[in-house]
Amino acid sequence: MTAGAIRISGRTWAAALLWGLAARFAVLMLVVLAVFILPRLLPGDPLGIMLSSDYTQNLSESELAELGARMGIAGSGAEQFGAWLGDLLRGNLGYSATHARPVATLLAECLPWTLLLILGAMPVYLVLAALAGIGAGRAAGGRFDRGLTGFVTILASIPPFVTAVLLMLGLAILWPVFPASGALPMLPSDQLVIRTGQIALHAILPVTALALHEFARFYYLARGEAAVLTHRPFVLNAVARGLPPCRLLAEYYGRNILPTFVARLSDSVSGLVSAVVIIEIVFSYPGIGGLIYGAILDRDYTLLQGATIAVAAGLLALNWLIDAAGTALAGRG
């Protein structure tokens, strides 16, 4: 390969990356705009919600105006948008009046819980789906395959919130082995080890619900790949040589299925986030999903905007990075 060819491929690679960045930025801008306008179309406003308690007294007009200004909902829409965008560009997501905390702090408190669920579920469903899928795909059409695939088909037909509710019903209410809600017990321990155990115990049900939801997708993928691989000469050859099953699994199937999994993983992130939001709401788990849901019910514009933009920006950036890595790998190969 000549030096010129490398430079050209490098340039197209950089161009593709820039293009990707631009497109994602455009979508982010759409989100920013939508997130500002949509909540203001909702009937009701945060001041109304704040004062809708039965015990609030009849405030005078000037008292109301003062409160409105404090909550960032005074002035025309354009003024509000300008002020908000200015803050946003400076990295300030605003201040949630209902929670009496900066939005960034709230997000920082919730994000670890959501990540715990996602990162806890991911290895579970990826490994199990790979193992089950390869097992079924190697003998496609066999009894194991038919039984398992039938089961997974039914599993794939159960919506994630139903799985979550059934898990909660079965393992937290009827047979209360696990806590039904929250991320920590009422009195969390001070000791690190016990505390970690408590967190793990509370995370098991939501993580299981999430893993079950994603399991089917990767099971089908692994099964399909494995079914093709089984008939490829190098695999047949390896089997004939009497390779140990572990090595066969890891080096022949695993290594070939991995790239497909990675590619699909980046597609599945948005579905994963959708599922985690619902699951958090079902289990009253203190993550981003519950935060956003609460913000919608409270009409907490600032929080809603901040949380949505943060999630969107995070996902877009992640997706861009994965893409860039993929392009880079492909370019090098």
Partner: protein, 515 residues
């Protein structure tokens, strides 16, 4: 699988082991809903419970004993001038802020001026002309007009702020550091875990008004079932709001349960600028509905009682001792009344006006969905076409008075000092009656507010009760029952008219302090 089970068993035993010795065991109170915000006036969540918890930390000038009677708070004495426009209060010299500084009349005067600049939604200072500290101990309030509810309303509700902390805060809505919770109440906030809705409060050892009963109070968030289980295990002591239908479970397990009607009624409001502008129409609707059946269907476990129609509910100290009209289900009478109003029954027994079928648009708060559905079914069975819309509170708040609706089911408080009833009757809030009528109710309320003696005030309020039941600005449907379960570490009871601003509760701070 075996391994998993063993691990779980070990985990469960480790996690269940009690951590604290019995001697200084905190009194643990459960709350079903999570976070109530920081316990300081400007940053607590905007609901009654958050206000109640904040009152553990912040005292007012006037306080209540466990029966709800007014007793000295930060002010140990108070007098009102003959014309009712000047109040003199003597502050308790023993009162201290949680940081040790004395509570002075200057703090109180500062609170009035500060809250006038930074409105606090739970107290309106519109009637206060001036608040001045004559000396460290002597506070003088000048009113714009006479207010019969000054002591039992405003001064009971208004938390006094420490001047040395709040005077430097220009935006108290953003002031949520621990210092914001420096009050003068019996307990001070030592820990607040927002994510888990958990509060730890410690007794204020120098409390000026007797001794706090417990060294530590904890408020934790738990579902009802978890709470019942924890009560049985001795992990919690009080379940602050136990669904009444579960009272049997708690009693069977040997715990004490106190229950009372909340006075936080569910009602049907009317669009007074529409079909129901005439009182006869409202009475017709009242007879057309079977309130007893609504109760029977929606309250199978004793969750509610039939509401009194004259605004004040049974048990209220403001209520006159007469039975209100019950508007017992009488479709025949309802039909007569409607026909007198010019409505006719058309084909298939549907009500018509000027030959056009009558469709009632019924809005309801999503929380009242079940009652709304039953009301809809009853009205349809009676011959109205009903367009039921369940909405969120925020969306309902956006529907103006006289807007596109006929009926509106909501819940609202009828408890607390009557000085703000006027806003609940003629106010524009979605769960107010939005009623003006011929102005008589308003006049009575104004006279009640201007009364010179408590007896005169009561006379006016009884007249209000009689007229309200007749005019039906809203039709009161049900009065939900509230229950609290507790063990024998505390004595609890519901205050007859709610605590402070009328919050129906058995865990007012008076229960946690020896007088």
């Amino acid at each position: 699988m075996q391994i998993l089970r063993t691990v779980l068993l070990v985990l469960a035993t480790v996690l269940a082991s009690p951590a604290l010795p019995q001697g200084d065991k905190p009194l643990v109170i459960t709350d079903t809903r999570g976070d109530r915000g920081m316990l300081a006036p400007y940053v607590h969540a905007r609901n009654g419970i958050a206000y109640l918890y904040t009152s553990y930390v912040f005292d007012s000038l006037i306080a209540q004993d466990a029966k709800g009677e007014l007793v000295p708070g930060l002010a140990e004495s108070w007098t009102l001038s003959e014309d009712g426009l000047t109040a003199d209060l003597g502050l308790n010299p023993k009162a201290r802020w949680h940081d040790g500084q004395p509570v002075t009349a200057q703090d109180a005067a500062f609170t009035f001026s500060y809250m006038a600049q930074n409105p606090y939604p739970f107290a309106s200072l519109g009637n206060i002309g001036q608040a001045e500290a004559i000396s460290d101990r002597h506070l003088r309030l000048t009113l714009k007009k006479r207010d019969a509810g000054l002591f039992s309303g405003l001064l009971l509700a208004l938390p006094i702020l420490p001047r040395h902390i709040y005077s430097s805060q220009t935006d108290p809505g953003h002031f949520a550091s621990p210092a914001a919770a420096t009050g003068s109440g019996p307990y001070r906030l030592v820990e607040y875990d927002k994510a888990h809705g958990r509060y730890t409060l410690e007794a204020n050892p120098d409390y000026y008004r007797g001794q706090p009963l417990f060294d530590t109070l904890m408020i934790v968030t738990m579902s009802t079932d978890a709470a019942l289980q924890a009560l049985n295990n001795g992990e919690v002591d009080v379940i602050s709001y136990l669904p009444p239908e579960r009272a049997g479970d708690a009693e069977a397990a040997g715990w004490q349960v106190v229950a009372a009607r909340s006075g936080h009624i569910v009602k049907i409001g009317f669009n007074h600028e529409g079909l129901f502008g005439d009182a006869e129409m409202r009475r017709a609707l009242a007879y057309a509905l079977d309130r007893q059946a609504i109760l029977d269907i929606t309250s199978t476990g004793g969750e509610a009682a039939l509401a009194d129609t004259g605004y004040f509910q049974s048990g209220s100290p403001w209520r006159g001792n007469v039975a209100d009209p019950a508007y017992t289900h009488d479709p025949g009478h309802a039909t007569d009344l409607l026909e007198k109003q010019g409505l006719t029954r058309g084909a298939s027994e549907k009500w018509q006006r000027d030959g056009v079928p009558v469709t009632l648009r019924l809005l309801a708060d999503g929380a009242q969905a079940r009652i709304a559905q039953v009301v809809t079914d009853q009205l349809e069975a009676f011959g109205f076409t009903v367009d039921l819309r369940l909405m969120e509170q925020a969306a309902l708040q956006a529907v103006p008075a006289g807007g596109d609706y006929d009926l509106l089911i909501s819940s609202t408080s009828t408890t607390g000092d009557p000085s703000d009833i006027a806003s609940r009757v003629k106010g524009q809030s979605w769960n107010a009656d939005r009623y003006h009528g011929d102005g008589r109710l308003d006049t009575i309320l104004q006279e009640a507010g201007q009364s010179a003696t408590p007896d005169e005030r009561l006379t006016h309020l009884h007249e209000f009760q009689r007229l309200y039941a007749k005019e039906l600005p809203s039709l009161m449907l049900l009065d939900p029952v509230m229950a609290t379960a507790h063990n024998d570490r505390v004595e609890l009871s519901f205050m007859p008219d709610g605590a402070l601003i009328g919050i129906p509760t058995a865990i007012d701070k008076s229960a946690f302090v020896t007088e």
